[in-house]
């Protein structure tokens, strides 16, 4: 078990390292150095910086030095929590991002919970009642969820929602609460707006998980230990839930690891369509405006949070699988 744990930790560390490198590359991709762009933008938007300030920035980021020095300087700043200033907003990046990051996390986690809550029973039902009418209905819905890209679904729902029901499904807060400080009322408001984006996000994920659960459970249902359990006199429902479902849970649980990045990606896109105050629209705007410090910070934070989340889920998996705990799994 210890080796498994160490291996996952090592992999996570390497992944975070790789993310920092990729983020650094993205930071420097646009032509020219970003301090000049910053200076140009700043003067254009009226918050001009002096030449001395610009030079100080260049020194801080080591822009006149070799690439690996730049990387190191940038990394050191990031480790201290200093992500730089956004050009567009003229404020520190962390301030601009503000709540959005946590809302993104909330949205993604919420979608994962809903996906699991839906996929598990539907998957079990589809496997046990194979070829029934319900199975076909769920399979069809599943295919639809798989086929329609997130943003299209959001677009269609948004359109028909306003057309047929006159409600606006966009946004995570109503107009009054949008800028208000955090109160209980604001939290309730948030909860009321969350269901639609979470449902849209979970549809694609649910479709995938249902297929996985169904396939694995169908495999397990044929195995001898199920017959043995039945032969003991156990109720059919208990037979299914206690034994093959438990066995099929493993490959099912191992999918969480890839569900989180999937959800985070998806949330970025539908946030744009539905105008949600999460990290998505901010990232898009910053990329279009070439506000690289803001953009790369968002990418970095999203990546790191995802890796941490995946690591936690791996630990969970390790805890529930006796084979890993006792060192049987290779």
């Amino acid at each position: 078990m210890l080796t498994y744990l160490l291996r996952r930790l090592l992999l996570a560390a390497i992944t975070v390292f790789a993310i920092t490198i990729v983020t650094f590359i993205i930071l420097h991709l646009p032509p020219g150095d970003f301090v000049s762009a910053y200076a140009a933008q700043a003067s254009a938007s009226g918050t001009a910086i002096s030449a001395a300030e610009a030079d100080a920035l260049r020194l801080a980021y080591g822009l006149n030095e070799p690439l690996w020095v730049q990387y190191w300087k940038w990394l050191a700043m990031v480790a201290r929590g200093d992500f730089g200033r956004s050009f567009e907003y003229g404020r520190p990046v962390t301030e601009v991002i503000g709540d959005r990051l946590w809302l993104t996390v909330l949205l993604s986690l919420g979608a994962i919970v809903v996906t699991w809550a839906l996929a598990l029973p539907i998957g079990i039902y589809s496997a046990v009642r194979q070829y029934s009418f319900g199975d076909y209905v769920f399979t069809f819905i599943g295919f639809v969820g798989l086929a329609i890209p997130n943003f299209l679904l959001a677009l269609i729902i948004m359109y028909f929602g306003s057309r047929l029901f006159g409600i606006n499904v966009g946004g995570l807060f109503s107009a009054e609460q949008q800028l208000a400080p955090w109160t209980w009322a604001k939290f309730i408001d948030l909860l009321q707006h969350l269901p639609v984006p979470i449902l849209i996000l979970s549809l694609a994920g649910t479709a995938q998980l249902v297929r996985i659960m169904r396939a694995n459970l169908l495999d397990e249902l044929r195995r001898p230990y199920v017959v043995t359990a039945r032969a003991r006199g156990l109720r059919e429902r208990r037979v299914i839930l206690k034994y093959p479902v438990r066995a099929a849970m493993n490959p099912f649980a191992s999918t969480i690891g890839y569900l989180l990045p999937f959800m985070v990606s998806g949330s970025v896109i539908i946030s744009v369509v539905l105008s949600l105050p999460t990290v998505g629209p901010l990232l898009l705007r910053s990329l279009l405006a070439q506000d690289m410090l803001l953009a790369s910070t968002i990418i970095l934070l999203l990546g790191v949070l995802t890796v941490i989340g995946t690591l936690l889920s791996d630990l969970l998996l390790m805890w529930i699988d006796p084979r890993i705990r006792l060192g049987q799994l290779r």
């Binding site: 017959v227 043995t228 003991r232």
Partner: protein, 337 residues
């Protein structure tokens, strides 16, 4: 002879997949007596396992029992027809495990990998008794000791993958006996084990039978096991029993051509070197392409032309408790030796 503890009468279990009908068990009848071992023998696909599952009413879709009776005589003398019970009903579930125990052939995959041995044993015990968890755990440890597992108090918390094949099969037997059934059905219990372990397991089954007065149904394709372990034998072919009787009669005076062919095909240590191994001509027909009349006639060296391919032979008695289903005997004709 005492009353049979289990009587199977004209059992028909058919499977209905999309492609057609498979008549897995097509008219089998036999009796099982307390304290005696009944062997069911035949080639793969002859319906032996399906018979066992039919008795326990755990035949899987797309199969089901189409007709027949399975009459169980309970401890108080009352009888119940298992076919008439609801398969997931309380009464049938009480009988499953409580009156009839099943041991399978695949010890490797017959136990859940995610639950300890003790968990599964305790579940089986508590399903058919009112013992508390702690009492059930003690009982589980006793059972493990009974089937010869060393250090049972530790092994009760082991997972199945921590045990060897032989130990796992012993656990399976313990599971089958956990609720003190009066009948034990062992479906090829030793096929997946090596020869030494085979002997040990068979010895264990025999000992348990003697200690508890179990009635045992032993299903196998191995004639050697039949000779060693059973008192009565049922020979099956394509879902029918073709011959049944006491083991001595079957071995020393086999009547049905199939039984004879089976016995002949056992390689003998006394055979002359380089002599050909005897085989049964042809192969088992495809389930959707059953021969008309007697199912064995295409491979039968003694088939009577014009009779065997037309009509199905009825079972007749040719000796004490010795029945055979073959046209060679239905008209009272003497056996062609």
């Amino acid at each position: 002879m005492a009353e049979p503890i289990l009587s199977v009468r004209d059992l028909h279990t058919h499977f209905f997949p999309n492609e057609g009908v498979v008549r897995a068990v097509d008219g089998t009848s036999f009796d099982l007596f307390p304290g005696r071992t009944l062997g069911i023998v035949g080639e793969s696909g002859c319906g032996k396992s399906v018979t066992a599952r039919s008795i326990l009413r755990i035949v899987e879709r797309p199969g089901r029992i189409v007709s027949g009776e399975i009459i169980l005589r309970r401890a108080d003398g009352r009888t119940v027809d298992l076919v008439k019970l609801a398969s997931d009903g309380a009464e049938m579930r009480a009988i499953r495990g409580g009156e009839i125990g099943l041991v399978f052939q695949e010890p490797m995959s017959s136990l859940s990998a995610f639950h300890t041995v003790g968990n599964q044993l305790i579940e089986a015990i508590r399903l058919h008794s009112t013992l508390s968890k702690r009492a059930a755990r003690t009982r589980a440890i006793e059972l493990l000791a009974l089937v010869g597992i060393p250090r049972p108090a530790q092994r009760v918390d082991a997972y199945s993958f921590e045990l060897s094949g032989g130990l796992r099969q012993r656990v399976m037997i313990a599971l089958a006996l956990a609720a003190e059934p009066r009948i034990l059905i062992a479906d090829e219990p030793t096929t997946a084990l090596d020869v030494t372990t085979q002997a040990q397991i068979l010895e264990l089954i025999r000992r348990l039978q003697q200690e508890r007065g179990l009635a045992v149904i032993l299903i196998t394709h191995d004639m050697g096991v039949i000779a060693e372990m059973t008192d009565d034998v049922v020979v099956m072919y394509l879902g029918h029993e073709v011959e049944k009787g006491p083991v001595d009669a079957i071995f020393h005076a086999p009547r049905h051509p199939y039984t004879r062919a089976l016995l002949r095909s056992i390689p003998s240590v006394l055979a002359a070197p380089l002599s050909r191994l005897a085989t049964i001509a042809g192969s088992i027909p495809h389930p959707y392409a059953r021969p008309p009349g007697c199912p064995f006639h295409p491979r039968c060296p003694d088939a009577i032309g014009g009779v065997c391919e037309r009509s199905f032979p009825l079972e007749v008695a040719i000796g004490e408790r010795h029945d055979v289903a073959c046209h060679l005997y239905t008209a009272g004709a003497e056996a062609v030796a």
